[in-house]
Symmetry: C2
């Protein structure tokens, strides 16, 4: 998803912030067209391609409060959540300290498997910076 | 999750409404304690048992705009979404008409597998009725 540049002066560098920002509907590549057709009709939303990131199809307004998109993957279907953060290393370390295991990295994303077995990605902030600062939790 | 009684006079019976209301973090039963511990610490939320529905642990405020809970299941870990609706039959039929397959029923819930492979449950309205009417989509 498109990243919004961040003004570092907005943040107190002694802490970091995070929040659940994004719901991804991960779909096997050959199922993407029928998945996009279903979700857009089921939710009454016009799907939008994401410029420069062809694997994503955005579903704007699908779920109140969450960026929602379909992602074509070379894997089984699943949902996953993204945690957006202003400090990838600190947030990944925090979640690993709570029992998550880092499974892989992809571009700026850290892909973690959390206790209970679910996948979570830690990603750079992609919300509007002021909205992120307003809504995110602050971690020491 | 607790159900709020609905005043039928709020609804136009010629149509029905639905919206994505709930994110369930389904966890194998023996993993529930560690999953609850992780998610509550990761999100900074005090988990709350759900009276009369021991399989659920609510995570109030976890995700803006979505009811969020951990559910113990006799199955693999996964996330799933609930569509709340004022007409279960009409909403299930609508989604089936879009390609979903009904996999099972559990109490008032219809468990559907949608195109692309994801699970969705269709459930009775559990939000406050006025909030539901405000936020839900109307379907003919």
């Amino acid at each position: 998803m498109a990243r919004t540049p961040i003004n570092p002066s907005l943040y107190n560098r002694c802490v970091h912030r995070s929040r659940v920002s994004t719901l991804l509907i991960d779909v096997p590549l050959d199922q993407v067209p029928k998945s996009v057709a279903f979700w857009s009709a089921a939710l009454g939303i016009r799907p939008q391609p994401v410029t420069g990131e062809d694997q994503f199809t955005s579903l704007p307004g699908a779920v109140a409060g969450l960026t929602t998109a379909i992602q074509g993957v070379d894997d089984a279907p699943r949902y996953h959540l993204d945690f957006e953060t202003d400090d990838l290393d600190a947030e990944a370390s925090r979640l690993i300290g709570l029992g998550a295991i880092e499974r892989s990295r992809w571009l700026d994303c850290r892909i973690l498997q959390v206790p209970g077995g679910h996948l979570v990605c830690v990603i750079p902030v992609h919300s509007e910076p002021a909205e992120f600062v307003r809504a995110a939790r602050v971690w020491p």
